[in-house]
């Protein structure tokens, strides 16, 4: 009975419908799961997790104490454990294994350590454990014992924490000052000296004889710069001396007591002593530091501001380039060109170019823009600087142009679609009232198609923001020495290389020496990039939907 009804149910095709439905469910679960994965891993990066102290005894060894954050836990089969030297009691098929971030890379060699569940002893969360974010060598976990000035103890015991806070503010202030001098003031001097060198080279190229008055003027100026430079050097030296004044003593999990200069410390917290509200406050602070800070330690720590800035700059320049050209091309194809087989062919070609692999655009950009056009620009305008290339090397401008070519089909297709949705009656009405074709376009058609263009532009921007492969060839670097915008004329440096969120993910995730430590940061970066792209896409979708509603209204 059941069997028969099953076969008739099967014949009705119903299981197939369900299987089709299952395909949708699988897709949905994958998308949502993926976004959740990125979100959870990315967001948890900033949370000041409790630091545990646990006693750990390997068979045959002495019990040691480990201090660290629990990162991950996995269930491992007895067989695999056996291959690593762990024998489980008979009958137990698997055991847990925990990944502990123990920090103190300069003393322990590795930030991370796997600990096997069966060997773990008592776990506690002492409130006086400090987690120190350092400028080098990653985090440090231990117990604060003393604060020193010029290696003399000034505070210990309970006072040490208070004393450390005030002194840390001072040292961070000094670090900021030193950084400003290094980046801004010395950068200006270098720029000035470079200008002088170029001026001199230009004179040489122009054939001005040696010893001419111009050379002496340059020499004079150079001396002025040199004087300023030595002033700054002195200032920097003073700052550094002041910075080296304070130290702290910290006791590590293995009982060793080590000295850390305050100059190397970014921040110190006592995570186990923090309340949830404290932690939330710290979380916000950490997120802000992440989006506004500079990267440290080969990009595996610190913030990603330069990457955000680089992405935004590149996308903005690209948008400025792509909008007019895309719109003009679409208007030409739709409104002016005689519709025939050639235009149909062109339309198919344009459509297809949206499907051409982005790496091909990268190859084209490198060969045509960078080496061909860039090389010629250098020969014509920057010959004094040769053989060091100015535009004949990957840079912001070429990256933007390459992505503009890559995304122009998107804008063309979207704009054309918008134009074709505008009812004939509106166009004809305008023409009947005596407007010329150009006036009709400018006053009625284009304003009505504006949302479509906007959609196209947003989609183009979203695509450009996520594209990495072509950028690897035409201008992205893992660490740009300077932003593309600064206080030195001409303020916007299109020839500079830049950092990019997508490339940052690739670089930190796959090229960095300490992938394990950098992974949370990559997730956080990925989350930021995904958020930007989702927001842009949702905007495009909602604009498009509203557009459709509008036309439905005007058609009826």
């Amino acid at each position: 009975m059941t069997n028969k009804s099953f076969s008739s149910w099967y014949k009705s095709g119903s299981p197939w419908v369900w299987l089709n439905a299952g395909a949708v469910s699988i897709s949905l679960v994958m998308v949502v799961g993926l976004l959740l994965l990125i979100a959870v891993r990315g967001l948890s990066h900033f949370w000041p997790a409790d630091v545990m102290a646990l006693s750990y005894q390997e068979p045959g060894g002495e019990a040691i104490t480990l201090i660290g954050e629990a990162i991950d836990t996995e269930e491992v089969s007895a067989l695999r454990l056996k291959s690593t030297g762990v024998d489980l009691p008979e009958g137990q098929a698997s055991a847990q294994r925990h990944l502990l971030k123990v920090g103190n890379r300069d003393y322990f060699g590795l930030d991370f350590r796997w600990v096997n569940g069966p060997w773990m002893g008592e776990i506690s969360y002492p409130t006086d454990i400090v987690a120190i974010e350092r400028r080098e060598w990653g985090n440090f976990y231990g117990y604060l014992t003393q604060v020193k000035q010029q290696h003399e103890v000034v505070a210990d015991g309970d006072n040490a924490w208070q004393e450390l806070q005030t002194r840390l503010i001072r040292s961070n202030d000094l670090v900021a000052q030193a950084k400003k001098i290094e980046k801004k003031d010395i950068g200006e001097i270098n720029h000035g000296l470079e200008q002088l060198r170029l001026e001199q080279r230009r004179l040489q190229l122009a054939g001005v004889p040696e010893g001419a008055i111009q050379y002496q003027e340059i020499e004079q100026e150079r001396k002025q710069w040199d004087v300023r430079y030595s002033d700054l050097q002195q200032k920097l030296f003073d700052l550094n001396t002041a910075l080296n004044r304070d130290q702290i003593m910290v006791r590590m999990s293995d009982g060793r007591e080590v000295e850390i200069p305050l100059a190397k410390i970014v921040e110190v917290i006592k995570p186990n002593a923090m309340s949830v509200w404290d932690k939330l406050g710290f979380y916000g602070h950490a997120v802000w530091k992440f989006v506004s800070g500079e990267p440290r330690e080969a990009n595996t720590e610190g913030g990603i501001f330069p990457a955000i800035f680089g992405t935004v700059m590149m996308v903005m320049i690209m948008a400025v380039l792509v909008t007019p050209f895309g719109v003009i091309a679409a208007v030409y194809l739709k409104e002016y060109a005689t519709q025939g087989p050639i235009i149909r062919l062109i339309r198919i070609a344009v459509n297809n170019l949206a499907g051409v692999p982005s790496i091909v655009y990268g190859v084209f950009g490198l060969g045509f823009f960078v080496y061909f056009i860039g090389g010629n620009i250098d020969d014509l305008f920057f010959s004094a600087k040769l053989p060091a290339p100015t535009f004949g090397t990957p840079g912001l401008m070429w990256a933007s142009l390459t992505l503009a070519i890559l995304t122009v089909p998107v804008v063309i297709v979207a704009t054309e679609e918008g134009l074709s949705r505008i009812p004939r009656a509106i166009r004809e009405g305008s023409l009947a009232l005596g407007a010329t074709k150009a006036e009709t376009l400018w006053r009625t058609v284009l304003p009505m198609a504006a949302p479509a263009m906007m959609t196209g532009l947003i989609l183009a921007v979203a695509r450009a923001a996520g594209e990495v492969a072509p950028l690897m060839m035409v201008g992205v670097v893992k660490l740009a020495p300077a932003l593309a915008v600064d206080t030195i004329a001409p303020y916007l440096h299109l020839d500079r290389q830049f950092m990019h969120l997508g490339f940052h993910i690739y670089d930190v995730g796959f090229q960095s020496p300490n992938v394990e430590a950098a992974r949370p940061l990559v997730y956080a970066t990925a989350l930021l990039l995904v958020l930007i792209i989702i927001v842009l896409n949702l905007a495009a979708i909602s604009i498009r939907n509203r557009l459709r509603e509008n036309f439905k209204a005007s058609e009826s």
Binding site: A23, V24, S27, A337, F364, G502, Y506, I533
Partner: protein, 758 residues
């Protein structure tokens, strides 16, 4: 009436000067806009088309043949010239005579620059001559008393006046100015071969009484003092068959191998790496009877020998290792574009190419790896002639026996590339058999670049295949459901989700694939397969169970929400499979499936095609989904309504009416998805090991064309062969995707026309 309204209008009258001027101005603006837009539009389209032509423009020089251009011709008074050389800048030539004379001359007009005197002992005469590998500049004269004079030719470059280059030829004596004793019995040396480097020098000579004598000088450096060294001598003797007359003797640059050729066309191959005990490895008849070997040279690198024959053919031979680790000589490839006996072969210094001159005066330009004949052209008068190529392979000097000398420039930028070397199996030096290999660069100087695009194209197709295996069923089935069965409210959720899925940057997918999914899959391999098997079973079982539910419960959830009901099932199957994975692994695969697979002879990499297939499938699903959904949704409603009215079930209507009508659209969706999978870069770059192997094993990685470009392009030297081959790879990708997309687009356009006519 009209007139009246005009006259009362606030506007100026139509025929007034103001109005006319204004009309003219508007007309001008209109025309300006027209031409401006046309110009702008066409230039944008031109810029897009430019991509294709620019790629073609960069790739094209790869397929040019060689070109030769005669630059100077003059007569050099001399007799008995044995050897010619040409320097790096094509401006100084040198010649060596059998009288022991060396003369450096201006290669453009023949004026003598330097005529150094060699310390040939006065009491002896020269009976033989040998040159070492061209890059070392070493030469030797064999004397009639069994002694040998070794000397070296070099050029010193100085810049005495700023930017003008001055080249001074020098002759030096690496083994001292005194002749070295090679044959202790002081017999005249009829044939000689020499190789010399900083560590050791080897001499091999054939004496008049047909003994092959070998002598090696090893220089042993003192560790304490750089100036101090001792020279150790080793000698050996080989008796050859008395009936043969040996014609050629060649030592390789590493002084490990010796080739002897006799007048019956036999090549004898000796291993002399142990100079105390030379070993005959093989004696092989290299030419048919009646044909002689007329020239013998090493290709650069000292692995292959080139044998020029009296019928104009040139054979390349190199030792090949068999399964028992024995080496035998193989005739790897032959060139038979010349017909007269080959007199001189001049190998290039740094590439695996060579020039050959025959007695009819024809010059052939060849490349071995690419098996390519780049040029056959008459160059000199028929007869015997000498030839030398410059180290940069862009200059050539020839001299006939009567002293007529010609300097010619060669334009031969990219001989390494041919259809054969790009797409077919190539037998590379030191390889056991012809293979497909991509290995574009190496630290060594005389490296044979291996530019086979086959393994890369194979990698691309492999990635695309596994991605499509994942994407096509999910996307098409999902699209069918979304277009045909899903409730409109659910569509408003699903469609934007899929669109966002499409927009996800591939760098993020690649990162997750490489750093999250790959280790996860490796650790839970049985779980992954259990998901694949259990998922459809559980879905069907759920559906069956659903029919058994009481009607009141069923009615709460309207039709078209099946997908929502299945979401918990999908999650549960996934989670349970993953949880059960270690247990399954213990039961079925001895607790470690990757190891089990390796034991079974199936290679396993952590970053493998399975991971790529899953993630790239994920990336391609939305593309296929959207287009398929459009196609199915666009099927005119009266068709489905008609079918349903005739009593067909929805599923019958779907399979018999809707899918048939929409099949061209689904086809084009698959094509576009394929195009996307083929061109995808970041996922394959990050989620595979990027090793260019040709193996369809799902558990191993590959190297795709796109990832290869991304990895190697930044390091390729501009305009080098490598650079252009990478452009060719880009062009291949461009063409492939363009063809896929065009087919898809044409099919879709037709479908649209069909729908509108229905």
């Amino acid at each position: 009436m009209v007139e009246e309204s005009m006259s009362t209008s606030v506007l100026p009258a139509t025929d007034s000067a103001v109005a006319i001027r204004r009309r003219a101005w508007r007309e001008f603006k209109d025309r300006l806009a027209k031409y401006g837009v046309a110009m702008g539009g066409m230039s944008v389209i031109f810029a897009i088309v430019l991509i294709f032509f620019y790629l073609l423009y960069v790739v094209f020089p790869l397929f040019y043949g060689a070109d030769i251009e005669q630059h100077a011709e003059f007569n050099l008074e001399s007799q008995n010239v044995q050897h010619l050389t040409l320097n790096e800048y094509n401006d100084i030539g040198s010649m060596l005579t059998m009288q022991g004379k060396v003369r450096f001359f201006n290669a453009n007009n023949g004026q003598t620059i330097l005529e150094p005197r060699l310390p040939v002992p006065a009491e002896s005469t020269i009976t033989s001559f040998s040159k070492g590998a061209s890059s070392t500049g070493v030469f030797a004269y064999g004397l009639n008393d069994g002694r040998v004079l070794v000397f070296k030719q070099d050029y010193k470059i100085s810049y005495p006046q700023g930017n003008t280059r001055k080249i001074t030829p020098i002759i030096s004596y690496p083994m001292g100015e005194d002749a070295l004793v090679l044959d202790s019995q002081a017999q005249p040396l009829t044939l000689l071969s020499v190789q010399s480097n900083d560590e050791q020098t080897t001499l091999v000579g054939l004496t008049q009484d047909k003994r092959l004598v070998l002598k090696r000088f090893e220089r042993e450096q003192d560790f304490m003092d750089e100036e101090l060294f001792t020279i150790k001598q080793k000698t050996a003797e080989i008796l050859l068959d008395n009936r043969d007359t040996q014609t050629h003797l060649q030592l390789d640059i590493d002084q490990r191998e010796l080739y002897v050729v006799n007048d019956k066309g036999f090549i004898s191959y000796f291993d002399i790496s142990n100079s105390d005990a030379p070993r005959l490895i093989q004696k092989i008849k290299a030419v048919p009877s009646g044909i002689d070997i007329t020239a013998l040279e090493f290709l650069t690198g000292g692995i292959s020998i080139l044998a020029g024959r009296s019928d104009g053919q040139i054979d390349q031979w190199f030792p090949v290792r068999d399964d028992n680790n024995n080496y035998t000589l193989h005739n790897v490839r032959s060139f038979n574009n010349q017909t007269a006996p080959i007199t001189t072969i001049a190998p290039e210094y740094s590439r695996k190419g060579f020039l050959a001159l025959d007695t009819s005066g024809q010059l052939g330009v060849y490349h071995t790896t690419a098996h390519r004949t780049l040029l056959i052209e008459p160059l000199v008068e028929p007869g015997h002639a000498l030839m030398a190529i410059s180290p940069r392979a862009n200059g050539l000097i020839t001299m006939t026996d009567d002293g007529q000398t010609k300097l010619a420039y060669i334009d031969n930028e990219h001989p390494e590339v041919s259809w054969h070397s790009l797409w077919e199996k190539v037998w590379y030096e030191s390889r056991d058999k012809p293979e497909y290999i991509w290995q574009s660069s190496s630290a060594s100087n005389d490296f044979e670049p291996k530019f086979s695009l086959s393994p890369l194209t194979f990698g691309t197709l492999k990635a695309a295949f596994y991605a499509m295996m994942v994407a096509v069923p999910l996307a098409i089935m999902g699209a069918i459901y979304a277009a045909y069965f899903m409730s409109p409210r659910m569509r408003t959720i699903v469609k934007p989700t899929i669109e966002i899925m499409e927009a996800l940057p591939t760098v993020i997918l690649g990162f997750l694939a490489g750093l999250w999914l790959a280790p996860l899959v490796e650790g839970n391999l049985p779980g992954v397969f259990s998901i694949m098997i259990m998922m459809p079973i559980m879905i069907v079982l759920t559906a069956w169970a659903w029919t058994k539910l009481p009607a009141t419960l069923k009615e709460r959830i309207p039709d078209g929400w099946e997908a929502a009901i299945l979401i918990p099932v999908v999650i549960a199957v996934g989670v349970l499979s993953m949880l059960a994975s270690p247990t399954l692994e213990l039961w079925l695969f001895d607790g470690n499936m990757p190891k089990w697979l390796t034991d079974m002879g199936i290679g396993f990499d952590q970053r493998n095609s399975l991971v790529v297939g899953m993630v790239m499938g994920f990336a391609v699903i939305p593309t296929i989904f959207s287009i398929t959904e459009d196609a199915i949704f666009g099927v005119p409603k009266h068709l489905t309504i008609g079918s349903l009215a005739l009593g067909a079930t929805p599923w019958q209507t779907l399979t018999r009416v809707v899918l048939l009508t929409a099949s061209p659209g689904i086809f084009s969706a698959v094509m576009i998805g394929l195009g996307r999978a083929v061109g995808e870069t970041m996922i394959v770059l990050m989620a595979t090991g990027n090793t260019p192997i040709m193996d369809f094993n799902i558990f191993e990685g590959f190297r795709a064309l796109s990832a290869n470009i991304a990895v190697e392009m930044p390091e390729a030297e501009v305009a080098s062969t490598h650079y252009r081959v990478l452009f060719l790879a880009a062009l291949v990708l461009f063409m492939a995707t363009f063809i896929f997309n065009t087919i898809a687009e044409v099919v879709r356009q037709r479908l649209r026309n069909k729908y509108s006519s229905l």
